[in-house]
């Protein structure tokens, strides 16, 4: 399937099924409703074939270029059918499974994620390790029956909804840094796991603390080899900055258009609006180029930190504009529109934190792209 044909046919299908795909207003507008909507849209698009394009056949896909996945998420986001944050877990975690899980495991699990039967989460950060991920201390000890995991993760997005977790655990000596980390694919209903949702500033139970108390993880659930967890993590991050970033660009476009449609004539200045339009263009131009590199089979690496810096900067500029243009809604609005603008505005503040902070992205560019040598 070529991109142009895919675009045309998918657009037609989305028009035709607009009513069934739309959010069910009776679900309300919280995170539970977003999750229900996500599952519905994924199931419908999977059963109709759209969600299977761009993924390899061995995990239930129909093959074809990853550009098709890029367009699917763009179209769903542009029509406000899915929220790109929750949708992104698919684009981040499925490629990791395909690259690192045993083929049978990937073939069994990936279709469940694609079809929306399951939600997965990513357990990297810990109370003592955010930016300095290589210092993580959640331990996995080898036993006769598999790995035994004990420790804590934090800020694990959507863990309370998740059936599985891609977990990084320390399997080497405590000071083995990035060499002693192993990635495990963990069932969230395994005995010994406790999940405690945390309320975020934007008013959602977006992420959780996850406690592991002697949790058994079978050996077949290793992603890659023992000690290869750092590579798994480093290969995963560029996915966060490619296809799902393209989707987030479509989200920003959709929100800015929404602002332009909604707002009173005199509350936007041409110069300020133009500035965001220009930034958004640059972000999407860069993200598009990255999508095409991915589609051409290039291995993405630290250069995708450029995409992340552009995303974070643009997202914050856009919602700064929102916060001044619809200040009433953002500050004092208690209706649905006010709540949404406020939530989007507040969430944009995290764009320079999650997935590697703004400072860490610049460190990566300085060291690995500009080759400036070690920091003092």
């Amino acid at each position: 399937m070529q991109l142009d044909a895919f675009r045309r046919e998918l657009d037609g299908w989305l028009d035709e099924h607009a009513a069934e795909l739309a959010r069910d207003a009776s679900d309300g507008d919280g995170l539970d409703a977003d999750m229900a909507q996500l599952a519905k849209v994924k199931q419908m698009t999977f059963d109709a074939g759209w969600m299977r394009w761009g993924w390899p056949q061995r995990v239930g896909g129909l093959g074809g270029s990853p550009l098709l996945r890029g367009y699917l998420g763009e179209a769903l986001t542009a029509r406000d059918l899915v929220e790109p944050g929750t949708y992104s877990m698919t684009e981040v975690l499925a490629p990791t499974m395909i690259d690192y899980a045993r083929p049978e495991l990937a073939a069994e699990m990936v279709p469940r994620l694609l079809r929306g039967e399951e939600m997965w989460c990513q357990g990297f950060s810990e109370p003592g390790t955010g930016s300095n991920l290589a210092a993580l201390s959640c331990r996995a000890v080898r036993a006769d029956d598999g790995w035994r995991v004990t420790g804590q993760k934090v800020w694990t997005s959507f863990a309370q909804f998740a059936q599985r977790c891609v977990l990084l655990a320390r399997t080497g000596a405590p000071d083995s840094a990035h060499r002693g980390i192993t990635a495990l694919f963990v069932d969230m209903d395994a005995p010994g796991i406790t999940v405690r949702p945390i309320e975020t500033m934007h008013g959602r139970l977006e992420f959780c603390e996850v406690f592991f108390d002697d949790v058994l993880v079978p050996v077949e659930r290793m992603l890659g080899e023992e000690g290869q967890g750092w590579s798994v993590a480093m290969d995963l991050l560029p996915y966060e900055r490619s296809t799902s970033l393209w989707h987030r660009g479509a989200f920003l476009q959709q929100r800015l258009q929404h602002l332009l449609t909604d707002v009173a004539d005199d509350s936007l200045s041409a110069a300020e609006l133009g500035d965001v339009v220009v930034q958004l263009f640059a972000l999407r131009a860069r993200s598009r180029a990255t999508q095409h590199r991915l589609a051409a089979g290039e291995r993405l690496g630290p250069e995708t930190s450029v995409d992340k810096v552009l995303l974070a900067t643009t997202e914050q500029s856009l919602f700064d504009l929102v916060a001044s243009a619809v200040a009433d809604d953002v500050l004092t609005g208690d209706d649905a529109a006010g709540a949404r603008w406020r939530s989007d505005y507040l969430y944009s503040r995290a764009a320079t934190i999650y997935g590697g902070s703004a400072e860490i992205q610049r460190n990566v560019l300085a060291r690995r792209v500009l080759d400036l040598g070690p920091e003092s």
């Binding site: 200045s269 300020e272 180029a289 003092s376």
Partner: protein
């Protein structure tokens, strides 16, 4: 052109740009006819990287606007308006030429062009911020010239996109100078490249260069994207200039170091065919008027 051809072409052009060889001799005008994107992007980025100039912008604008070949009058600084207006048989011109003059100059109106004798016009060789750019400001009024049809809007888009690429090259050169300096220069017993404040400035400059390059490349999809690509490039060049100047500090503030030439070039190129500031406001005003964002870049 395939990748190998492109590489050969780039190397030939690089030599031409560095040593002032005529663009005709290295086949650039043929390339412009065959593969406009490669010809324009390659030449203008090289010109930017080497702080060189040429009359190639004329060919780019003429080709797109349907003007005859020759010296083209470009819009006056910080505007994209056609340099000629005709009222009651009287042609008034106000614009800029880049590079040496011929005896005639072609001046576009909104929907046509006239060919004028340079001797009938007032010329002012421009020193200004960047004398090496060899601009000439031209004004005047002439009677009786009859316009031929042409399409100025397409010429504007082509000119803006070429300049966006030239700004990318200029920015790339400033970043290169700053990076080399950061690695060479030692303070407190170590290279200044080891200080995080310096590293982050260079990283920021790198992001600016890359975003301008992506925006310019993406703008080849649709002439409607040219103005926004130029706005990105102008804005990025200012960001890179600011960080490069800070990292190069004292030496970068002298005329003994080449940085100043690139900064001067960036400022003046930003002003040609509309500055980033002007274009950005126009883009915003257009969106406000229509209540629609510009069409997004298709994947």
């Amino acid at each position: 052109m395939d990748a190998a051809d492109c590489e050969l072409f780039t190397e030939a052009l690089r030599k031409a740009v560095q040593h002032g060889v005529s663009l005709d001799d290295v086949g650039w005008y043929d390339a412009l006819a065959d593969d406009r994107e490669v010809a324009v992007a390659t030449l203008f980025e090289l010109q930017g990287e080497h702080n060189a100039t040429s009359t190639a912008l004329d060919a780019v604008v003429a080709d797109a606007a349907g003007l005859p070949s020759g010296r083209i009058l470009l819009p006056a600084l910080d505007s994209a308006h056609a340099p000629a207006t005709i009222t009651g048989g009287r042609v008034r011109v106000r614009g800029i030429c880049r590079g040496g003059l011929d005896s005639t100059v072609i001046a576009a109106t909104n929907d046509g062009y006239v060919s004028l004798q340079v001797s009938d016009l007032q010329l002012r060789p421009v020193g200004g911020m960047d004398p090496r750019l060899e601009l000439v400001a031209i004004t005047g009024a002439v009677h009786g010239a009859v316009p031929e049809p042409a399409g100025w809007t397409a010429g504007v888009a082509a000119g803006q996109l070429a300049l966006a690429h030239e700004l990318v090259g200029t920015s790339r050169a400033m970043l290169r100078l700053a990076r080399e300096h950061a690695l060479d220069r030692e303070q407190f017993g170590r290279p200044i490249a080891s200080f995080q404040a310096v590293r982050h400035k260079l990283a920021e400059a790198h992001v600016a260069v890359e975003s301008a390059k992506s925006a310019a490349d993406a703008a080849w999809h649709d002439p409607a994207f040219a103005a926004v690509a130029k706005a990105v490039a102008g804005r990025s060049a200012r960001t890179v200039a600011r960080h490069a100047q800070q990292v190069l500090a004292g030496i970068g503030f002298t005329t003994e170091h080449p940085l100043h030439r690139y900064i001067r070039r960036a400022l003046v190129l930003d002003g040609l065919f509309g500055s980033s500031r002007t274009l950005t406001s126009e883009i915003g005003a257009q969106a406000l008027r229509t209540r629609h964002l510009p069409r997004p870049i298709p994947l």
